[in-house]
Amino acid sequence: MLSYIIRRTLYVIPVVFGVALITFLLFNVVGWNAASQMLGKRATPEEIAALEKQLGLSGPLPEQFLHYLKQIVTFDFGRSFATQQKISTLILDGVLPSLSLAVPIFLIDLVVAIVVALLAAYYRNTWVDRAIVVGAVMGMSVSTLVYILAGQYLLAYEWELFPIWGFESVKFLVLPVVIGFISGLGSGVRFYRTVVLDEMYQDYVRTAFAKGHTERSVLFKHVLKNAMIPILTSVVLSIPFLYTGNLLLENFFGIPGLGYLSVEAIFSTDYPVIKAVVFVGSVMYVFASLLTDICYALVDPRIKLR
């Protein structure tokens, strides 16, 4: 197992290098002139040229790429064009707010969606199953924006059950978490229900029933275990997206996370920030894939890591 992990970790290096190269080419070759953006609209060409030289932006591309690799290794992505703030600080500042919103939504959604999916599978082809499916589809069909606006207006403003906006204590997170949970539940239920039902029609399930196991025993002891592979894939590959934050919820509820940071950077064409967020997100995705493979071996003894 250890040798597998080390080997896979080493495989990650060329992938990360490739990600670095692509992000570099995207943003350094196509990107906007940093010096011009920093100096504002009244800057003269001479001022822009002087600052480019100072920032190392006038050198050849290989030299700039080496500088970028150094930034990656030291987790020092330089400064934002738009705000002059250190990008590593901006990312670190944004991670905690993003996670404080995204993790509870993710965990509650996961647990509730699996429980409801098992319930639907248990009562498959009955009115309970149909009601769950209809409810899930309805939930998915309503835009998150509707939940946000209705939640802010009715629950927060009119009924004063929650704060309207802000990030100052746990109570400020309750409404966005509830909205995030409700808006994401439908798709989760549908996915996990499909996964569980797929397993329900496998031969080993029929065998288990033939041996006299109860429905409950089959569902929890056999089906759930075997459904873990797709569930794990979905769960672990979702983890990197927790870091990138929830754009709409952060924006409307004033949660200063990475979703908000990314949107601001896109609107202000702040390429170094976008580049850093994209790179860190890509690397997290690569490592999440690695983690998924390792988890497979832990939950499914048929899978051997070589």
């Binding site: 800057a43 060409p45 002059q84 500042d93 403003y157 204590s169």
Partner: protein, 585 residues
């Protein structure tokens, strides 16, 4: 991690966040801003939210009178108005003694030291050093003896701030002298701008690039807490230098209670929180719930808030909410690139397009929060003439006639038989409201038989196209820097052509001659007459389609006192106060 443990961690995290926002005192006042700030360095402040933060912390030699109109300046860190030499080239300022910088570890004993004339010498050289990425050197460019040389040298090598510059000198501890290369009539306005504010050298040298996160000024407030992209909490500077509430205002100010606090030491608020609320609807709910002291009105919300008579709805009036309306000193326009082979040489075509714009309809799209422009100079600025008729008002028949005279009968090019197609570059790709407004403009051109293609860009890309003169038509708003028509007329001076601010690349020898004449003229009826003449020239030449001047609509809570609309409002929060009893109700 068990679910229970995860919940405990989440609650602990929440508690940590809560500690960051403790102690909401009775006089803590909240304001919203739609954008985050760029940091607290005065020389890089170029946007509204950053300026709003900077002016609370830093100060310059002069500031605008708060209540008096027309605008005039008064001493702030200067002890008195400057002595000006007879030739208008030397300004000598006495610095107010006893003014201290905020306490900060950058000073030997952590106690803010006294401000001196040398701080202005240092701060202005710092503004001129291109390595500091200042967005504001233009305020002194070509104006101060020796400063341009210092600026140019900084482009090639690191410069020493100990190197003397003849035009900025500390004659003694409290005497600061500025020597100009030519008379600079706008200098006193310029000295109210944040680019010229005093910063202590100790702080800049201690914090280096992090100076923008460690403000050390002389201003009425200190930064107590700052969470980037979320909130800044300012606390009253307990050692503020004794500036007091003004005792002079306009007629009506006393009756409105605006002089009740005359002579009171500033600031009047204990604590201010500046939030970053990026969504209009959220800001509106925060305001309605009484959390925010002030709010704008989103276009989508306008009809629910303002009646057909442009007054506040009775429901909001009953809550005591105040509406303040005021024309802004800004001009929105569509510029023609005069180097473009189609629109540049064809004055009749440009005039035809001017006549095709139904400005009244355009204003209605924006809930009539705009007023039609008659030229480049906005209201309230010397040179603006409200009674003068605009020579190219909306008139479709006349537009068609002019278009025919321009060589495009029915909007078609007789040589090719094809419809005339023009391209409008905009820098508002992300703004759906601006996109709708541009479609409206395209429909005005379509009525004339001209096809207008809208080319949305992100802002930097838009600037790049203008700087490279790659536009045909472009859309911009010019926000005034100081209340002098020169600030608008310089946009037509041929030596300011792109990449300078004259993005129309307009050139008219007569206009240039007049501009060079007024450049060094002090305010006078003669100068105002020349401003009007210059405005007439550009209206006739039509390098721009003059669109509108915006009207500001602001809403204010009944408990916010001493508020008066101002075109340069950034430092004015120090004059505001709240009625805590009314606030709690």
């Amino acid at each position: 991690m068990s679910l229970r443990r995860a919940l405990v961690v989440w609650l602990a995290l929440g508690a940590t966040i809560a500690r960051g926002a403790d102690s909401a005192s009775a006089t803590q006042t909240y304001f919203g801003s739609t954008e985050r700030i760029r940091g607290f360095d005065p020389i890089t402040a170029g946007d509204v939210p950053t300026a709003a933060a900077i002016y609370k912390l830093y100060e310059g030699l002069l500031e605008y009178e708060y209540l008096v109109r027309p605008y005039k300046v008064r001493p702030l860190l200067a002890a008195e108005m400057p002595q000006v030499s007879a030739d208008g080239l030397t300004y000598t300022f006495k610095i107010k003694p006893g003014v201290r910088f905020h306490d900060n570890p950058c000073f030997p004993d952590g106690q803010g030291r006294e401000l001196t004339a040398a701080d202005f010498v240092y701060s202005w050289k710092r503004l001129a050093d291109v390595r500091n990425k200042s967005t504001g050197y233009w305020v002194f460019e070509g104006r101060i003896v020796g400063l341009d040389e210092f600026h140019k040298k900084s482009m090639e090598q690191a410069v020493s701030y100990d190197e003397p510059v003849a035009g900025v000198q500390a004659l003694d501890r409290y005497t600061f002298q500025v020597r100009l290369t030519e008379p600079y009539p706008q200098l006193l306005w310029i000295l109210t701008m944040d680019y010229t504010f005093a910063v202590p050298r100790e702080a800049v040298e201690r914090y280096g690039e992090e100076f923008l996160n460690n403000p050390v000024g002389t201003g009425p407030f200190l930064v107590k807490k700052w969470k980037r992209s979320y909130r800044i909490e300012f606390a009253r500077n307990p050692r503020y230098h004794g500036d007091t509430y003004p005792s002079e205002g306009e007629p009506g100010d006393r009756e409105a209670g605006l002089l009740d606090d005359a002579g009171q030491p500033l600031p009047l608020l204990d604590s201010i929180v500046q939030y970053v609320i990026s969504d209009d609807s959220t800001e509106w709910l925060m305001f309605l719930s009484g959390r925010l002291a002030a709010s704008g009105i989103a276009r989508s919300n306008f009809d629910a808030v303002i009646t057909g008579q442009k007054e506040l709805t009775s429901a909001l009036k009953a809550r005591g909410i105040r509406l303040e309306k005021s024309p802004l000193m800004d001009t929105t326009y569509l510029g023609f690139n005069m180097e473009d082979p189609v629109v540049g040489p064809n004055q009749k075509l440009r005039q035809a397009l001017c006549c095709a714009i139904d400005v009244e309809k355009y204003c209605r799209f924006y809930n009539d929060r705009l007023m039609p422009a008659k030229g480049p100079i906005p209201p309230k600025v010397a040179g603006y003439d409200p009674d003068k008729p605009f020579p190219y008002p909306f008139d479709l028949e006349r537009a068609k006639q002019l278009l025919t005279e321009a060589g495009y009968p029915d909007g078609k090019d007789p040589k090719t038989g094809r419809r005339l197609q023009l391209t409008l570059e905009t820098g508002s790709a992300a703004d759906p409201e601006a996109r709708q407004a541009n479609e409206l403009i395209a429909s005005f051109f379509a009525a004339l038989g001209v096809e207008l293609k809208i080319s949305p860009n992100n802002w930097p890309e838009f600037l790049k196209k203008m700087e490279r003169r790659q536009v045909q038509l472009y859309q911009l708003i010019w926000r005034i820097d100081y209340p002098d028509a020169e600030n608008f007329l310089m946009l037509f001076y041929s030596k300011n052509a792109s990449p300078g601010p004259n993005h129309a690349n307009y050139s008219n020898p007569e206009f240039d001659r007049l501009y060079e004449q007024i450049r060094t003229m002090q305010d006078s009826p003669e100068r105002t007459a020349i401003y009007r003449r210059m405005a007439d020239i550009v209206v006739e030449d039509a390098p721009w389609i003059f669109m509108t001047h915006p009207l500001a609509y602001g809403l204010y809570q009944p408990w916010l006192k001493n508020f008066k609309s101002h075109d340069f409002p950034y430092p004015n929060v120090k004059f505001y106060k709240v009625d805590p009893t009314q606030m709690r109700n």
